[in-house]
Subunit: 190 residues, 2 copies
């Protein structure tokens, strides 16, 4: 998606060690017009999978998941990283190693909002090692739901997440695929 | 706003002790169509304040703040509760007591995205004691920005936040104002 790739080149920064700073338009300050375009594009790419729910992880998945769900006219559920007092005692919980946080985080979903027969489209801001997304897959599976697709704004293909997720046999889409960040570069693939 | 009030009566639950469970459509599972309507309504109510930025707090403020910002065509910044590695060392940080968490949380904004001359509209899911919103006000003030309005989806008027914020002298809007939650009731005010 040209609009996102251009924005990454203009306002993103390669901080080294595979860290892409996009907090001016994706994950601290958010450009709502860009998120709206990205949601429309993801909804279009997954138009055929008949999703009944979008699933993401707080925090930075919320914006793209919300706009995608808006265009698909389905609810979005964001997995919580801490259990709020309004959640029942019995929950779905999985652990996912967080690359950027350097530790393992909990991903928690209430059984009230993820059930059997549900067709789940997973949306997140980044597809990197795929660990967070695999955590979301496990939550969906624990609920007896089917995962029907995985979408991300930005993929860092060199971190191997796509290979990990390919075993799921569902469509995987990323709006900007980065193939190389060595030596300060930001190189896009197809 | 009738649509939100009706939804609270239909799908919300009064859990006692002033706790309103709205995690089926606002803060765990989110109804994107409702959030879109709420954002449009808030943007309309604040159409006159000439906001240049929307400010909210992660996590559950993100959805309404994003849709409001979308209709106002301005960026939205969400204050982080932990400092990510992509943020510079010098930051704006304030402490806010969290009613629902029973502890004090940090609210952090990068100076890159909140500056002097900025006209800040604060949007959050709840206006209750007003402590989180006052934290956001302090962050805006630390940046030398002006707060030009405060908007929330749901106000629990009996918790006094509106009085606290009234000293700011800016318009305060809530789309659903609850005046009484005693004995399992959910009573709306004007």
């Amino acid at each position: 998606m040209d609009e996102l790739r251009l924005r990454i080149l203009t306002d993103g920064r390669n901080l080294g060690n595979g860290i892409l700073k996009v907090d001016g338009f994706i994950n601290h300050q958010v450009d709502p017009t860009l998120m709206n375009s990205c949601g429309r594009e993801l909804a279009q790419r997954f138009g055929g999978v008949r999703a009944t729910k979008v699933l993401t992880a707080e925090i930075s998945g919320i914006a793209p998941a919300l706009t995608t769900a808006m265009y698909l006219s389905v609810p979005v559920v964001y997995a919580r990283k801490t259990k709020p007092i309004t959640m029942p005692d019995q929950i779905f919980l999985t652990l996912a190693p967080s690359h950027t946080k350097g530790r393992t985080v909990e991903l928690i979903v209430s059984p009230e909002y993820l059930g059997r027969e549900e067709r789940v489209l997973i949306i997140d801001d980044f597809l990197a090692t795929g660990q967070t997304i695999m955590g979301l897959v496990r939550l969906a599976q624990a609920a007896g739901a089917s995962v029907v697709g995985v979408g991300a704004l930005v993929e860092k293909r060199f971190e191997g997440g796509r290979e990990l997720l390919s075993t799921l046999g569902v469509p995987i889409e990323a709006l900007a695929v980065i193939t190389d960040m060595d030596n300060g570069k930001i190189v896009f693939g197809d």
